[in-house]
Subunit: 368 residues, 2 copies
């Protein structure tokens, strides 16, 4: 069961909620835009369903909404930013503007961020870079949910990677992927629907593959053992160590390079009360014409996309997708028809509206 909401009304409402924590209109807008973009792209796990975790975080000393990010070290092309336990979206936006400026000036910008919080979808920032005409990369480490190959402790996050690159004819290439085989949200869906997990998504407290989503989620929540597998699955047969390697690549470029937190230092279980999450990010922007005429780049990328899309399909399939394509189409549809919010999410927003004394008028109407 879901409620259809209007993306612009939703944006205004979420902005108003963030403003009640003392954020400026501009800054609150950034945070709202980040969450609504996730819903529009069909990634509800990172959308407004997460608002309560942000508002709770701001109330409980996990996130300090008025702490501003600061550059602690920089060169013409690089910077290290300390987010000072502020909002991940604020630090991410700050770092992305900085990385764009550096790339425009020198051809390349690389900015790492430490002591941040959950910054929403990685693609929000690579897309911001893309909107400036540059090639954008965004990565973040995250709360530990993933076990290493041959292990059974959750040491690594789902550590996503995003790359956005401009085209002329097609919609921009827009990759935004976790380095785990699935996100936790997928296990929750299987649990709700009482379905068995596919072999190779998750391991139990012995570190062996299990198909019981309820048990895995219980074990993960209580850190009993087991968790989600890296892309490629269990052991070495399907090269799970490659997904594990990609997760480490992200953690090294984010957590280690920023001088911040990495691995399970984030949300370490010894913290009995909520403590800052200490997430780290990595952003990179490339001014394409520094390497090759931009029109050549765009034409070649279009051709690459077309060759893939026009290539022969596997039996039973009628379409080959390019990364971002499904999400662009979903966004178009949701902007026109409204975003379907689960009833439970809608009710949570209502309770936040009441608590923060903010008017909530987000339902899609015939006039929207």
């Amino acid at each position: 069961m879901s409620v259809l909401v209007d993306d612009q009304k939703l944006l205004n409402f979420i902005q108003s909620v963030f403003e009640t924590f003392g954020l400026s209109q501009n800054t609150a807008r950034i945070c709202a835009d980040n969450l609504v973009m996730a819903d529009l792209r069909g990634i509800p796990s990172h959308g407004v369903a997460r608002l309560k975790r942000y508002t709770d975080g701001m109330k409980n000393g996990v996130i300090f909404p008025l702490h501003n990010p600061k550059v602690v070290q920089q060169t013409a092309s690089t910077a290290t930013v300390d987010a000072n336990d502020g909002l991940g979206q604020v630090a991410g936006h700050f770092a992305t503007r900085l990385v764009v400026e550096k790339a425009k000036n020198t051809g390349v910008g690389i900015v790492t961020v430490r002591n941040s919080n959950h910054y929403g979808i990685a693609g929000y920032y690579s897309n911001m870079i893309l909107q400036q005409g540059l090639l954008g990369i965004s990565m973040t480490n995250s709360a530990p949910l993933v076990v290493p190959t041959f292990g059974k402790e959750m040491i690594l996050g789902t550590n996503p990677i995003s790359l956005a690159a401009p085209t002329l004819q097609n919609r921009p290439f827009f990759l935004d992927m976790a380095t785990s085989v699935v996100p936790r949200g997928k296990l929750e869906v299987y649990d709700r629907e009482e379905k068995s997990l596919p072999q190779g998504w998750a391991v139990d407290d012995k570190g062996k593959v299990t198909t019981d989503p309820g048990q895995v989620l219980h074990n993960m929540l209580n850190r009993i053992g087991g968790g989600i597998l890296p892309l490629g699955g269990e052991g070495e047969l399907y090269s799970g160590y490659k997904g594990y390697g990609m997760a480490l690549l992200v953690d090294i470029l984010c957590g280690v390079l920023s001088g911040g937190a990495y691995a399970d230092l984030i949300n370490a279980p010894k913290n009995t009360k909520p403590a800052p999450a200490r997430v780290s990010h990595f952003f990179m922007a490339l001014k394409i014409e520094t390497f090759v005429e931009k029109k050549i780049f765009q034409t070649k990328l279009d051709d690459l996309i077309n060759r893939l899309k026009n290539s022969a399909k596997a039996e039973g399939e009628d379409r080959i997708f390019i990364h971002g394509e499904k999400e662009y189409e979903r966004r178009d549809h949701y902007m026109k028809e409204g975003i379907p919010l689960q009833n439970k999410v809608y009710q949570t927003l209502e309770s936040i509206a009441a608590e923060r004394s903010v008017q909530m008028n987000i339902k899609k109407s015939a006039h929207d």
Copy 2:
């Protein structure tokens, strides 16, 4: 059946073979070192077993051994290099020295290369960057062997990614991975041993998963349809579109950004005679102290490694590996005991020695 050979003797022999094509001692040494390093690390598919493909390539107009790479465009931090259809190792070495120089000067270096040939293992170059005290990344596109999700044509290469990063206490982190679930060499091993493929490695001419390695190899060779699956396997259940996305990320940063060839333009089947392979590469070097004190980086990376290694093991496993670890141990062993070369490979080297009138004395003896 195999022959034990001495790595230093092998290096000298391979160097001598390259010298017969007019390469300088220095340049021939680089090419030899690249191949022998692969054997020492236990990646024989990219080792001296490949020498014949290089010598054939140099004889047949695929590789022009005396063509030198040239910088076609550059800034303080970036460059685009045209390899002029020369040896991939020569272009790779040239670009890596350039990227190191730029990173030392400005904090970051990024160099793309077009019109190159097979450059050996990606890790050769990230390791070169590491040896200069920097964080190194190396990627390349490659001959099309991989089908996109829902497709059945080999459009993408196995497009590897390598990252090497310095530590203090442990051996350096050294990731070097293809973005496909397995390399072609793995299918060949299963074919020789008459074993069924695991479900999810490769698809047949209908684009459906097959367990018949002989059929897949035959179809791949003749481009009948089917090929290797991206990391994550078939369809969407195990997120094969993520491996497909990583392969595209590599192709965009290598082939598209360099203004070179990408996807199946490399070795396009319409070329009835051998033609230049037109491989593209991407190199990146980061001067760590530009972001954070180097000792802090190294200490944190050591800690990350230690946390992983000391974490609880899955039932039946007694060790968690870090990327590069197995290969370092194999190198130590092979340097001491000799590298086991398959008889067939040894015989091919003998025939190359005869053809090029080069002395071959590579067997490991008690004195080595």
